[in-house]
């Protein structure tokens, strides 16, 4: 089993007594990019918090396990956790404005971050990485302070810092969602490049299937705390099985310039606690049995899992 970078088995996460994620399982192989897509509130960020294990954020893992390179990290203590964060698991949040101090130079903050992980900061090494990622003005970047930078550039500085710490697994939580299209594309290209050159594994959370289709090898679709479809990106996008995946795809403005089709309502907040399918209230194909049939991710085709295949046109 050690050939998986990250393995999530049957994970159930709660905030207090309230279930946020139930029975989520998947694996990230070395050098693989796995995207998790879904609406706001479906539990995709909670998934990342569970892997990072930041208890202060209120996530508690009640069932299942998270395995990093064969080592169970589900319930690590604070000190052990600190040793793997950054150097083994890198993290790029949605808004990196909050991760840097706005009025101190990047150099100082880079130094601090490296020191706290027991590494030595080397200017030339940092500049080498900037060059490799095609950052403009790479010689002077370290002297700047975050407030002088655009959102896109700040995001890229956070990625560069993550590279310096040398993790093997990167967690990106909507890392491109606040950026405009041009910087979004740059960041996506940089991440793909890093994956190729450094053999990174990336767990990439996004609500934008367009972004996912350009970067991912595997795609998981989450809905109200459950994984409803999972598989190779081409299989999921070319032949979406779950009604929700199809709705999600229809909502994206496409090349044909047709008006996208939306999805009325919102996911149930307690969706993870339901016995039957939790997409029933918004589903046009649902039958009486959907309300009671317990949730289960079935392998519909090879390497392509879905919890429902109602209304699928083959």
């Amino acid at each position: 089993m050690a050939n998986n970078m990250l393995e999530i088995n049957n994970l159930t996460v709660t905030y207090g007594d309230f279930k946020i994620i139930t029975e989520v399982s998947f694996a990230v192989k070395p050098g693989e990019i796995v995207c998790i897509a879904g609406e706001s509130g479906c539990g995709k960020s909670t998934l990342i918090k569970a892997v990072l294990g930041i208890k202060q954020l209120g996530t508690f893992i009640t069932e299942g396990s998270i395995i990093l390179e064969g080592r169970d990290i589900t319930h690590l203590g604070a000190e052990e956790r600190r040793q793997i964060l950054g150097t083994h698991i890198g993290y790029v949040p949605q808004n990196t404005r909050g991760s840097f101090n706005n009025i101190r130079s990047y150099e100082v903050q880079y130094q601090e971050a490296m020191r706290s992980h027991g590494l030595k900061f080397n200017r030339d090494e940092a500049i080498k990485i900037f060059n490799r990622l095609n950052f403009p003005d790479s010689d002077r970047l370290l002297w700047y302070q975050p407030w002088e930078m655009s959102g896109g550039m700040n995001q890229r500085m956070a990625i560069a810092l993550a590279v310096l710490l040398g993790p093997k697994l990167m967690l990106c939580d909507e890392a491109t969602s606040v950026l405009d299209v041009t910087s979004q594309k740059e960041v996506i290209e940089e991440l793909s490049k890093l994956r190729k050159e450094l053999g990174w594994s990336i767990l990439f959370i996004t609500h934008n299937l367009g972004v996912a289709s350009h970067i991912a090898d595997k795609l998981g679709v989450m809905y109200a705390g459950r994984m409803v479809e999972y598989g190779d990106i081409r299989k999921v996008l070319d032949d979406p099985i779950h009604p929700y995946t199809r709705k999600l795809l229809a909502a994206i403005p496409g090349k044909d310039r047709k008006l996208p089709v939306g999805l009325e309502g919102r996911p149930p907040l307690d969706g993870a606690e339901w016995t039957g399918c939790n997409f029933v209230p918004r589903c046009e194909y649902c039958t009486e049995s959907c309300k009671t049939r317990p949730y289960r991710l079935e392998e519909i085709a090879e390497g392509h899992f879905a919890s429902c295949s109602e209304g699928r046109t083959v």
Binding site: S40, T182, K255, R257
Partner: protein, 255 residues
């Protein structure tokens, strides 16, 4: 005098700079555009290109540095925002912040009506009609803004804008903070409103793919100038400017 032939909105060579003397920074340079009744214009550009400033200038929220603004042929440059908000209603990206958190959505809408149209006898009926037109249950209007989802608040905000029957809706990145399914819902309802009421709109966004689905014309902005202006077909299939091509290239369609 206003003539029937005059376009609904005409923006003539407007410019805007912040700061004075040597430190002055010009954020809008010589922007001109016209908009006819019933037309939807998309304005596309990266962050910081001046697209939001342009909307602020059109709705008189900020004074111009130079240029002229005409509404149905009538010059309204330099007027107070209160005197033009009967014509234009602006919808912002973060609508929850645009609602008073201490009163219900319905009360916010009533206030808007009272300020703009005086005491209207059938205010509640008009509010409910507008809310249902945006595809929401009128009962939701009795909730507080924080009790609604992001997509619902945004649709309420559009309903609030339309309840006073403005001539034009100015939308500033109204779907950027929403996820795709909520975004698609908003577009659908706006599209229906267009068909039913011939709504005129300026739709500011950074998403070219989105604008191409429902705008009549698209203007591309870069560094304070409109560099290209045309139908979605012209912009998407036959872009003339390098920058437009760059933007088109960066659109990530689902493959």
């Amino acid at each position: 005098m206003a003539t029937c032939e005059a376009p609904l909105l005409e923006v003539r060579n407007i410019a805007k700079s912040y700061g004075k003397g040597k430190k002055a920074k010009e954020v809008l340079k010589d922007v001109s555009l016209t908009l006819n009744e019933g037309e939807v214009l998309g304005i596309i550009g990266e962050s910081g290109c001046g697209k939001s400033v342009l909307l602020n200038l059109i709705s008189c929220l900020e004074p111009l540095s130079s240029g002229r603004l005409l509404f149905k042929g009538e010059d309204y440059t330099g007027r107070k925002p209160a005197s033009v908000c009967r014509w234009f209603q602006v919808i912002f990206q973060d609508s929850e912040a645009a609602f008073d958190p201490k009163i219900t959505v319905r009360e916010s809408m009533r206030e808007n009506l009272r300020l703009l149209s005086g005491n209207v006898a059938d205010a509640d009926r008009r509010i409910e009609e507008m809310v249902s037109l945006m595809g929401l249950d009128p009962k939701l209007a009795d909730r507080y803004p924080r009790q609604l989802s992001g997509g619902q608040v945004q649709r309420m905000s559009i309903a609030r804008g339309l309840v006073t029957e403005p001539n034009m809706l100015l939308c500033d990145e109204i779907t950027s903070a929403l996820d795709v399914s909520a975004q698609a819902m908003i577009l659908q309802y706006l599209y229906q409103l267009r068909k039913q009421r011939g709504l005129t709109m300026i739709f500011v966004s950074h998403d070219l793919a989105l604008c191409s689905t429902f705008c009549d014309r698209i203007a591309i902005m870069n560094e304070g100038r409109i560099i290209e202006n045309g139908t979605p077909h012209q912009i998407m299939d036959e872009p003339q400017q390098e920058y437009t091509k760059l933007l088109l290239d960066a659109v990530l369609y689902v493959r």
